[in-house]
Symmetry: C2
Subunit: 236 residues, 2 copies
DNA sequence: GTTCGTTATTTGTTATAACAAACATCCAAC
DNA sequence: GTTGGATGTTTGTTATAACAAATAACGAAC
C-alpha cells in the first residue's frame, strides 16, 4: 500500500476551494425537494390528493421517480396514504398539534440551550431574522412573517449543532406546513418583549436555561392561531 | 340523503367483532417490515451493502418494490446511501450516539412523565418485562436481554399515549439496532436498585417528575457498552 | 326519482427493459 | 512487479407496460 491516505482522492487538498464535488440530483430528488418546500410554504392544503400519474405529468417525469418522491414524503409523515393508497396532504388533529408542540418544546429548547455557546455572528443572523419579522408585522405582510418565523426557529436549531435533532424538528415543521398560514388567525402578537428577543438576549448572555425557557414561552404563546384554526376545522 | 351515517358501511355495527377489515400488505411493505426487524435485532452489521438486485432476488420480488422498501428505510435514516447510491447499514459515530442519547432523555422522559397517569395493568406489563430481563442477566443470555431492554423502553413510551413522540423514539432505536448487540460490552450492570425499578415505582406512585428522572438515569447509566464499542470501532 | 348492475376509466402496484456510470477483471507492455 | 488500458459485468436510475382493484359514468328497471 502506498504511504498516502487511501480515503483521499489524488491531490485532494491541492485543488482550489471552489472545486466542489458536483451534486448529481436525480429526478425523484428534485420532485421531492419541490414538494417539500411547497408543503412548508403552505401551498398544499390538507386533504389534497396527489395522484401518481397526474403528478408525474405535471413534473414531466415518469411514474417511477414520482412515486419515489411521494413515498419518501410519506415515510417522513409529511404526506400520508388514504385507504385507497393515494397520497394525501394530512389534516392535523388537535391532539397531534398538542403533541408536536410538546416535542418542539423539548427539542428546540435543548437546541437553544446548546446554542447558548454559539458564535456571535450566528446569533446576529437570528437577530436579523427577527427584525425582518417585526417589519412584516408592521406592514401586515403575514405570509412572509410565517416563513420568517419558521426560518427563525430552524436557524435557532442549527445553532445547537445537533444534526439529528435538527432533522426531527424540521420534519415537525414540515408537518405543520399545510396549516402554518393560519398562524396569525388569532391576531398579531404585541407582546413586549417578544419571546424571540428573550431568546436572543439569553443566547447573547450565554445563559442556556434562560434560552430554553424563552423557547418554551415562545412555543406556548405562539401557535394559538393554529389551535384556533384546527379547532374550527374539526368543528366545521 | 338517507338518515343513516354516510361514513358507516351497510350494517357495519351488526357484524360480529371478529370481522376485521383485512389488511392488504404490499410486497414492498413486507420487505420493509422484515428489514426493519432485522435491523432492530442487530442482524445487519454496519457498512453492510444492500445491493438492489441481489436483495430483490433474496426476497423473490422484483426491483421496484425492493427499491421502495430500501428507500423508505433510507428516508427514516435507518439505512443510508453511500457515494455510489448504494444502500448501506450506517455506522454510528460517537457524536451521533451522544445526540441520540440526549434526544431520548428528553422524549422518553416526557413519555414516562405522561405515563405516570397510566393504568396499573400496563405498568404491570412493564414490570413483567423487567423481570424477564433480570432472568436473562442471571442466565447470561445477553442477546435476549438486549431485545427485552428495547421492548421495555418502547413499551414505556407507549404508556405516554403520544403517537408522534413514539414514532420518533422508535426510529432512534432502529438506528441504534446495528450496534445494540454491544450493549453489554462494558459488563453486566449490578446496580441496586436497577433504574428500571425506579421507573416502575415512580409510575406506580403516579409521580411524573420521579419517572422522568429515573429514565434520565437509566439512559445515562445504560448504554456505556455502546459508547465503549463506538469508541473502539472509531479507533480500529 | 331512486336503485341496481354494467361498462369504462383511473388508480396504485409490480415486473421488465434500457441506459449510463461505476466497478472489476484481465492481459499486454514496460 | 507494476502500470495502463480495454472489456465485460454490475450498479443505480428511469421509462414503460401489464395487472387488479377501485372509482366514476351511464343506463335500465322498478
Amino acid at each position: 500500500m502506498s504511504s498516502a491516505s487511501a480515503s483521499e482522492p489524488d491531490g485532494g487538498d491541492v485543488l482550489p476551494d471552489w472545486v466542489r464535488p458536483l451534486v448529481k440530483e436525480s429526478l425523484s430528488e428534485r420532485a421531492y425537494r419541490e414538494l417539500r418546500v411547497a408543503l412548508m410554504r403552505g401551498q398544499l392544503r390538507p386533504d389534497t390528493r396527489l395522484r401518481l400519474r397526474p403528478m408525474s405529468a405535471r413534473f414531466g417525469i415518469s411514474a417511477t421517480p414520482m412515486r419515489e418522491a411521494l413515498l419518501r414524503l410519506v415515510a417522513e409523515k409529511a404526506l400520508a396514504l388514504d385507504a385507497r393508497g393515494s397520497v394525501v396532504v394530512p389534516r392535523l388533529t388537535l391532539d397531534q398539534l398538542l403533541e408536536i408542540r410538546a416535542i418542539r418544546t423539548d427539542l428546540e429548547g435543548r437546541a437553544a440551550a446548546a446554542g447558548a455557546a454559539g458564535r456571535a455572528a450566528e446569533i446576529d443572523a437570528l437577530d436579523a431574522i427577527h427584525a425582518r419579522i417585526s417589519l412584516c408585522h408592521a406592514s401586515r405582510d403575514f405570509a412572509r412573517a410565517v416563513n420568517l418565523n419558521t426560518e427563525f426557529h430552524l436557524t435557532l436549531c442549527r445553532l445547537g449543532q445537533m444534526p439529528i435533532l435538527y432533522e426531527i424538528v424540521e420534519l415537525l415543521w414540515v408537518r405543520c406546513g399545510p396549516i402554518l398560514s393560519h398562524l396569525y388567525d388569532d391576531g398579531v402578537p404585541d407582546w413586549e418583549p417578544h419571546p424571540h428577543r428573550r431568546i436572543i438576549d439569553a443566547l447573547r448572555r450565554g445563559d442556556p436555561e434562560a434560552a430554553r425557557d424563552a423557547v418554551r414561552e415562545d412555543i406556548e404563546r405562539g401557535g394559538r392561531g393554529l389551535f384556533a384554526h384546527v379547532r374550527a376545522a374539526a368543528a366545521g
